[in-house]
């Protein structure tokens, strides 16, 4: 691992200088949780992916995760969100299909499974410290529009309630008319300097377009910086890069464990 990578993974932008004057008071208990969070984040195979994503998806950038129904788009997005929350980055989760309770439960369960994997005991307390980094909004599919979202977003940012760094939009229909709302969203994302992840529902019968993108995304692929596809093969669900991710050797091949829906390193 390069030096720079090491620095970044410890959350430092420059080498730590000892004896540097600092006035910040660190609560011992909080520091403990901070360390735990960092621990989960680093051990998690997704962290490598997240670092890559941070490089690729710029402010105002779009990411997409594609699969057929029930393969694990939401689980993937929630884990991506959790990894941002672990690094104290605010996530706004917008669901067009589930209720707030259900989405909340999804996060809770995946976080618990994740923490269990690394034998972390104080999951409840840890979870409490992570909750402030998440905000869930739900809309009915036909009640969702970009102006409406903008209104809501202004509500919460103007009053200093929540400033998202990442938005997850789960359940948006990618049909012929999706280009305009996506373009509006892009403008919104640039304005608020955040990036947006979408779940994209694909169908078995749909053929890939010439640029090798599944149909729902083919017309709007130019708006996306990164696109990943979840592909069930036998008992595994592979995460395949459609766009954006470099196929380098230090980037591990990832897959989704179908029993827990947790992301794991293939090797």
């Amino acid at each position: 691992m390069s030096n720079l990578r090491l620095l970044r993974s410890t959350g430092l932008s420059q080498p730590l200088s000892l004896f540097k004057k600092t006035t910040r008071i660190i609560n011992l208990k909080d520091r403990n949780f901070d360390m735990l969070k960092k621990d989960i984040f680093l051990k998690n195979p997704l962290s490598l992916l997240v670092h890559n994503i941070d490089d690729i998806v710029s402010e105002g950038g779009f990411g997409a995760v594609l699969s057929r129904a029930g393969v694990g788009k939401t689980a993937f997005l929630v884990q991506l969100a959790l990894n941002n929350m672990l690094r104290s980055k605010n996530v706004l989760h917008i669901s067009l299909s589930d209720s707030v309770d259900k989405v909340g439960l999804r996060y809770r369960e995946l976080f618990q499974d994740l923490a269990k994997q690394y034998d972390i005991e104080q999951t409840n307390e840890l979870w409490e410290t992570m909750l402030p980094y998440r905000f869930i909004m739900t809309f009915k599919v036909d009640g969702f529009s970009v102006p409406r979202l903008e209104e809501r977003l202004t509500d919460i940012t103007k009053q200093g309630i929540f400033h998202p760094r990442m938005i997850v939009i789960d359940g948006l229909h990618f049909d012929e008319s999706v280009r305009q709302p996506l373009a509006d969203l892009k403008a919104l994302a640039v304005e608020h300097s955040l990036h947006v992840w979408f779940s994209v529902h694909t169908h078995r019968h749909e053929e890939h377009s010439p640029n090798d993108m599944p149909t729902p995304l083919s017309d709007v692929a130019d708006l996306f910086d990164i696109a990943l596809q979840l592909q069930p093969e036998g008992k595994e669900i592979h995460i395949k890069t459609l766009k954006g991710m470099p196929e380098t050797s230090d980037y591990p091949a990832l897959s989704l464990d179908p029993s827990t829906m947790l992301i794991k390193d293939k090797n």
Partner: protein
Amino acid sequence: MKKDDQKVRNIGISAHIDSGKTTLTERILFYTKRIHAIHDVKGKDGVGATMDSMELEKERGITIASAATFCEWQEHEINIIDTPGHVDFTVEVERSLRVLDGAVLVLCAVGGVQSQSITVDLQMKRYNVPCIAFINKCDRSGADPDRVITQLKSKLGHNAVAMQIPIGLEMDLMGVVDLVAMKAIYFDGENGENERIESIPEALMPEATAKREKLIDAASMFSDELTEVILEEQEISEDLLVDAIRRGTISRKITPVFVGSAYKNKGVQPLLDAITRLLPCPSEVKNEALDMGNNENPVILPSDPEKPAVALAFKLEDGAYGQLTYIRVYQGTIARGSTIINARSGKKVKVGRVVRMHADQMEDIDAIPAGYIGALFGIECASGDTFVSPGINLTMTSMFVPEPVISLAIVPEDNKSQINMSKALGRFTKEDPTFKTFVDDETKETIIEGMGELHLEVYVERMRREYGAVVTTGNPRVAYRETITRRAEFDYIHKKQTGGAGQYGRVAGHIEPTAEGDFIFENRITGGAIPTQFIAACEKGFKSCLAKGPKMEFPVTGVKVTINDGAFHSVDSSEMAFQAAARGAFLQGYAKAKPVIHEPIMKVVVETPTEFQGAVMGLLNQRRGMILGAQDEGPMCVIEAQVPLAEMFGFSTVLRSSSQGQAQFTMEFALYKLVPQSIAEEVAENVAKQKKSAA
């Protein structure tokens, strides 16, 4: 007593305050011949409406406690649970909703869908209660039933369809047009008791035809037969149409709307017909009980009078002859002389008198079969208790009772109030398991505890009204808690050997935080460092420190104490000495274990029209609230947040004023959380002040 459960209706009448619910109930009782004269709610005759049996209700013209009453209409038995219409009494409302199979949603033709209707409607949705709507007060100026129907659709999301149209409005209200039978109905006689059926006036014919089309269209969704008849352009029979509407109503997919004016005696009888024709009978409703032998998993109860009995006590009343317990039987039969078991306490009870209630009067009956509502005499129980036949282990309500989160000191003004207050408190604690009371050892004040500010206020008010107990109240106090955050060692010697009988005991070990319980004690003494007979004394000593924490005198929770060493003296050691040693050891360890205070955090759910969403979020945020999510539900929006209880005082007033009275909120205890440093200092100051003033 008839036993045909197809002809039973257990209904509630829910509405916004002042939409004329009690007047409507009164008229229903009059037309069903249960009462022989009509008294108005705020009438000059001083008798008041029959259903409002409590003093407070008579005075304010509102209904607080749900009295159950029974009447007969067209060979159907109707049990009416008069549900409270005021927002602050939601425990009562929710308890009565469990007992209902259907409901009449009363709306004011002028006021339309008001905030309370929204709350009540949400509660009905939660318990899946099918309902029909009655637009009352069509005689008032400004009445507009069409607007109310539009609001039913837009504000409550109901698929509301008109079943009637009014003949004339405001001063000219004469009767109603029945869109199913296509007939005009007028109400003659002094009290409108004579229905006169005529053909529809010419002028109303086009409107009636158009609305009937809409009705048929909506109903056809629920009946293939009806669709067929429509497609074949045949005559649509009344029964076919009613049957389709009934199906839609029971599945809560359609809300038939009736119109009239209870006060002017118009449209009440057709509403009674609709109750019998459209609302479900007990066996058509799915009732669930929890199996206590199987992790409180839900079990569906068949409404079969032959099976073992399961019944819910949903309301207690203090009558002239002792405690009256209202019950709804879900399965089996509860008969006079039979033996039943209270599922909560496990106590066997013999059923004495069984009665059927009509507000304040009663009628003796032999048994209450499944699906019926009745009352028992002389049964010791609390509200919400389940009664079952011996051998079954089911309960209608979860046994989980949350710990109270707020307390209030009350002091009676005089001796009479003192006596009445204790009577009232005894009754309230039975009615409501979340309401608790005790006497503070130090201040000798009576403390009442409950789940929120309003919760306690209602009981203080009821004490005054119903029991004549005048009390002054202190400031509400939040139930903070103390706990420790790290492990700490202790080693304490309690020694008094100067003159008189000596005392000696040494206790050593450690204390540490635990999430497994409020207090865990572990004995790891080996080699008899502390003799076995004194171990219990040690535990007792530690336990005695928990009620008032050393840091700020709040109860201590989440502590595990392990003792692993000690010493004793063959003569001077005693149980008392070890208790004292344990207390000393606890204080020693506790101080080193970084004690902190925790505060109750409430899960607050606000339902507001979308335009106030931003404002409401701001309010929650100002109150140290953490917003978990916002759910967009068309015209309404639901915001979920976690807010410290200490910040929630006066929230209802602020919420009302910043949402033009249209936002509603519910609040329940969620968890205990660490108090932030700055707030902890404030709390400490307040505690110090209180101590000073108490001294």
